[in-house]
């Protein structure tokens, strides 16, 4: 059974008005349990919209979404997914521990159970000594790790991420990518990951979904086969470069990269 199944999904903003936008048109996609799938494409091609539809933060104009075997709404109510954005979105008035415990509080967990879980999550993201710090005392990369710990605190089967490393410097970013892969390998979490960096998508994913704008749609799905992820030399292997080339060509073929040169990064 697939963890996320989207069929014939369309989202039109401001339908029938002068500023109508076809953000997504007739998108179908199925994501298997434990898979890591990236969405890539120039800005405005509907990546964030697709992610928010899966998260039930937006209602589709038409089409079906099944998440963890339920409707998108039911799986949101059951907290079947965790979410992380480009902005860590930590709460300044809560310590790191209390930030991680927030989703558990809303699930009605008792204190002892919450504390045990937040300790476990802090070990997972390698920040145990920062439990009682406040977010503004942490670097950007550390804040993002806390955000990931919070997203995974309830052990959801699915993790939805919208350019989570977009605001980080290159070194931190590569480090975070490796950590994310090892966390997902350890927890068996399925991930849908929005990015506009080709190497990032290739390094992380089992499959890269290439999208193009006006109207937003899926133009190609590139399979990446870098068995034995999580490895320092991955980025130097010929398969890595071959996959990068394949994604770049798919982007170019969909007319979203190359001529304009905007939106998708080669770094």
């Amino acid at each position: 059974m697939s963890t996320v199944s989207v069929s014939n999904l369309s989202k039109i903003f401001n339908e029938g008005k002068a500023n109508q936008v076809g953000a997504l048109v007739d998108v179908s996609l199925s994501i298997e349990k434990g898979e890591f799938v990236s969405l890539i494409g120039p800005s405005g091609c509907g990546k964030s919209t697709l992610l928010r539809l899966i998260a039930n933060l937006l209602e589709p104009t038409s089409g079906d979404i099944v998440v963890a075997g339920k409707s998108a709404k039911q799986s949101r109510l059951d907290q079947d997914y965790g979410m992380a954005f480009q902005q860590a979105g930590l709460f300044d008035w809560r310590t790191v521990t209390k930030n991680i415990e927030l989703p558990l509080e809303l699930k009605g967990w008792d204190k002892t159970k919450r504390e045990a879980r937040s300790r476990e999550m802090l070990d997972l993201v390698k920040l145990p000594e920062f439990a009682d710090h406040f977010p503004w005392q942490l670097s950007g990369g550390m804040q993002q790790r806390v955000a990931i710990a919070r997203a995974l605190a309830a052990h959801p089967p699915l993790l939805l991420m919208d350019e989570p490393f977009g605001a980080l410097d290159e070194m931190t970013r590569e480090h975070m990518q490796a950590e994310l892969l090892s966390i997902c390998a350890a927890t068996g979490t399925t991930v849908v990951f929005v990015t506009h960096s080709i190497p990032e998508a290739v390094y992380l994913s089992n499959r890269v979904v290439v999208m193009s704008p006006r109207p937003g749609r899926i133009t190609k799905i590139v399979d990446v086969n870098l068995d034995g992820h999580c490895n320092e030399t991955t980025r130097e292997r010929p398969e890595f470069f071959a996959a990068i080339t394949a994604v770049r060509e798919a982007l170019r073929a969909s007319g979203s990269h190359g001529h304009t040169g905007v939106g998708v990064e080669d770094r």
């Binding site: 928010r52 949101r76 907290q79 008035w93």
Partner: protein
């Protein structure tokens, strides 16, 4: 500690030099007391009238404090209503801003006609009104200007509106409340003084300043001005102390806002 002392040094040196110059100017140019009194004369007056000044400061200070508390409570209550019902905000916010731009304390003249001549109520109402708008505008901002990412996160946790209010909007508004208090505390004192210029009992610092000036007792008037400055300072300092005890690292939190 050492760096604090160093930071305090320039203003202290400046202050001492300022009063020395003032004193010297009065002596050298032989300025008449009705034009400008020497600091030493003002200090004498202050020392001689200590108990009277204290009494007047208590009257004005109580008015300011009562208005400050009432205005804060009302302002906070109203800001919750505003953030709950957007339409109310669309009506009240421009009104609050417009009222802030005009010196509304002249209203005290109208209020004085509504109460007995010895009543302190018009002055307290005046302070309440001034504080109310400052608190309302700031706290409403804190309740509504919440990061969109944080709201989306809360919705992804299936949090109801009431939980978003308790766990996000209210804590987000706390620093805004303290900012409002820091602005309101001196404003409350000033409003209390100025309200006394429009009639009513002649028992506060503001009315003592005017009556001493009217009687050409300039040095005494200045002594009451000194008392007024000290009262304003006391209000401001207390508001800062309350802030730093209630929100440890408050200033750092604002400057180092995480994203």
């Amino acid at each position: 500690m050492k760096s604090r002392l160093r930071a305090a040094l320039p203003p202290v040196v400046f202050g001492v030099a300022f009063f020395a110059l003032w004193e010297a100017a009065v002596k050298i140019f032989d300025l008449k007391p009705y034009f400008l009194s020497a600091p030493s004369k003002i200090w004498d007056q202050f020392a001689n009238n200590k108990s009277l000044i204290w009494e007047a400061a208590r009257v004005s200070g109580t008015n300011a404090l009562v208005g400050l508390l009432a205005g804060t409570v009302l302002g906070v209550a109203m800001s919750f209503l505003l953030s709950r019902y957007r339409i109310l905000g669309d009506i009240v916010t421009p009104l609050a801003i417009a009222l802030n731009a005009i010196p509304i304390f002249v209203l005290v003249a109208v209020l004085n006609n509504m109460y007995s001549i010895t009543s302190e109520i018009p002055r307290r109402l005046m302070v309440t009104l001034v504080v109310y708008f400052i608190v309302l505008v700031n706290v409403a901002k804190g309740l509504t200007q919440v990061s969109p990412t944080q709201i989306e996160l809360m919705r992804s946790y299936a949090a109801p509106e009431s939980a978003i209010l308790r766990k996000v909007r209210v804590p987000n508004a706390v620093p805004y409340l303290f900012t409002a208090l820091k602005i309101s505390a001196p404003a409350a004192v000033i409003t209390a003084f100025v309200s006394e210029y429009f009639g009513g009992a002649q028992n506060g610092l503001g009315s003592r300043i005017t009556s001493n000036i009217a009687n050409s007792k300039n040095a005494a008037a200045w002594a009451y001005v000194l008392g007024a400055c000290l009262l304003g300072l006391a209000f401001y300092l207390v508001s800062i102390i309350v802030e730093s005890t209630a929100t440890p690292g408050g200033a750092k939190r604002i400057s180092g806002r995480s994203r």
